[in-house]
């Protein structure tokens, strides 16, 4: 191998040799529960204070890009489910939108299909945020919210399993349509869930948001200023907690989001400073409220204007073979974690892309951690890492 390629690694080794006698290197992970997966952080510590952080990724690398270069677009959808495995519906929705726009059929998709897509995506967004909040509680030392969140998430998992046949990795949204229409009675069952869930959400908010121990552990910890967040490519709740109103559901207005009424919560620094860990937590809680609002509107329309018809076929527009011209396209969508992007480079006369790159929001959100974590206590580092809400399936792809 050319020596140029090795320079970076040699620099890194040289740097690790220069660590002084007062400092200690600690490996946090890859089997540490608060790294939320197989992430290894090499901490250079001075007593309890973290001087530097060197993240090591790749323990869950599954070669998504390489796999995608050997199969057609329909077959790639199950692989996209496994990127952010807590929000599979959102991943496949973004991917499918990209292929549909390249085919030019995105305006022909029936409204009922679009509303079902948004409905399941928002259900999945709630499930993902519930995990973020629950595991964040456990990182800080509160066990009850974790149990409550998982209890409520289980209802969503059951609903989505009923619709798609699978608990976590759905393969439900297809290019040009859906795997199946919603099962009979789904809308009514979903309304019951919303009625059940609303008071539970207030309860959860009361338990954690104003808890004095929780506030002491998270307020003013890991403050991320807006300009740093943008420079590091942070998106989603991370960016909004820093005070920037940036939500691609509004900015791009894809699918049927322009027809729906919802707010974009941003961090206000109610407990401490704008952009601290508490704000990132709070933005997620507020987003669940907004998602519930979206779900209610979707259900109302799915039961009235776009009600179930006996001869409705959600696979009517699914192409037998995706015939694309050679073109480049970057599609982006708002995932629970942030901006999920897919970059397509297609080839003439084949339905296999030349290059398909997934831009995972967690990957970018995690890259700001060394910046946030310099000079904090080790215990606070756990609080900061938990508030970023990473999914290693998406960091490593």
């Amino acid at each position: 191998m050319h020596t140029k390629y090795n320079q970076g690694y040699l620099q890194y080794l040289e740097r690790m040799k220069q660590i002084g006698s007062t400092e200690m290197v600690i490996n946090m992970g890859p089997q540490h529960p608060s790294t939320h997966g197989v992430l290894r952080l090499e901490l250079i510590t001075d007593g309890e204070v973290v001087r530097d952080i060197i993240p090591h990724l790749g323990y869950l690398h599954r070669c998504f890009d390489k796999h995608a270069e050997s199969m057609n677009y329909g077959k790639t959808i199950p692989f996209t489910d496994r990127l952010d495995y807590l929000a599979s519906m959102n991943n496949s929705h973004a991917f499918v939108m990209g292929v549909e726009r390249m085919l030019g059929i995105e305006h022909k998709i029936p409204k009922r299909i679009e509303y079902i897509r948004v409905l399941v995506c928002e259900l999945n967004r709630i499930a993902s945020h519930l995990i973020a909040i629950g595991t964040y509680g456990i990182d800080i030392g509160a066990f009850t919210p974790f149990m409550w969140c998982f209890r409520d998430r289980e209802h969503i998992m059951n609903l989505l399993e009923w619709a798609s046949g699978s608990r976590m990795l759905y393969n439900y949204i297809w290019v040009g349509g859906l795997f199946y229409d919603l099962p009979v009675g789904f809308e009514e069952r979903c309304q019951e869930f919303v009625q059940y869930f609303k008071p539970k959400l207030v309860e959860l908010d009361d338990l954690l948001s104003t808890n004095q121990i929780f506030i002491s552990r998270t307020a003013n910890i890991g403050v991320l200023p807006a300009d740093v967040a943008v420079n590091y490519g942070c998106s989603g709740p991370m960016l909004r907690a820093s005070g920037i109103k940036w939500d691609l559901r509004r900015i791009d207005g894809y699918s049927v989001y322009p027809e729906l009424d919802f707010e974009i919560p941003i961090g206000k620094g109610e407990a401490g400073t704008v952009g601290d860990s508490w704000d990132r937590y709070k933005v997620r809680v507020d987003e669940i409220h907004e998602s519930v609002k979206i779900i209610e509107q979707c259900l109302a329309r799915l039961l009235s204007d776009f009600a179930r018809l006996p001869d409705f076929d959600p696979r009517a527009l699914v192409p037998k073979k995706v015939n694309l011209k050679a073109q480049n396209y970057y599609v982006r969508a708002e995932n629970p974690k942030g901006e999920l992007g897919f970059y397509f480079e297609t080839q003439e006369k084949t339905d296999i892309p030349r290059r398909l790159k997934a831009r995972g929001p967690s990957f970018n959100n995690l890259s700001v951690l060394p910046e946030l974590g310099r000079g904090v206590l080790i215990a606070d580092l756990i609080a900061i890492l938990g508030s970023i809400d990473i999914v290693l399936g998406e960091v490593d792809r």
Partner: protein, 159 residues
């Protein structure tokens, strides 16, 4: 929008520095490698664009054509614009592209990924190591002419 940027670029830099490429529904601005870093600084700081958010960096292999391309997707948060930049580099030896990690810090990890999987050397990058694969991995798996190794550290990886 992209024509306006091209015009402004022509005024600031030499006329040959950039070129608009239409390929599908999103147009791309092809930038010459020599001025790429300055163009990026200019795009980030220009008061009528402010492309302050680098969304994505992708390296593409055009084998058997003898070239690589690195594609950058920029977003302007104040003006809600999107722009695609492209740099092309020959396929022989060590393909070198200037690093933009001094413009957008997020490019740091994206460039490390492109280096790791495609073997593009980013000139001026502060910490160019492999990011997803182990440090002692041989070769660059996303290249089209890559061949899987028989074994890794004595562990057979093929059946």
């Amino acid at each position: 929008m992209i024509e306006r940027i091209k015009k402004d670029l022509d005024l600031k830099f030499e006329a040959m520095a950039s070129e608009v490429v239409e390929c599908g529904i999103q147009a791309t601005l092809m930038i010459k490698k020599e001025v790429f870093c300055e163009v990026c600084f200019w795009l980030r700081d220009h008061p009528s664009y402010y492309f302050d958010f680098l969304a994505n960096v992708t390296a593409v292999d055009y084998f058997p054509e003898p070239k690589f391309a690195v594609v950058y997707h920029l977003t302007s948060i104040p003006f809600q614009l999107q722009l695609t930049l492209r740099v092309e580099v020959a396929r022989d030896g060590v393909p070198e592209v200037p690093s933009v990690s001094s413009v957008w810090r997020t490019a740091d990890w994206h460039e490390r990924e492109a280096f790791d999987l495609m073997g593009i050397y980013f000139d001026g990058h502060p910490d160019l190591r492999r990011i997803l694969l182990p440090d002692d991995w041989e070769g660059f798996p996303l290249r089209k002419d890559y061949e899987d190794p028989e074994s890794y550290r004595g562990i057979p990886v093929k059946i």
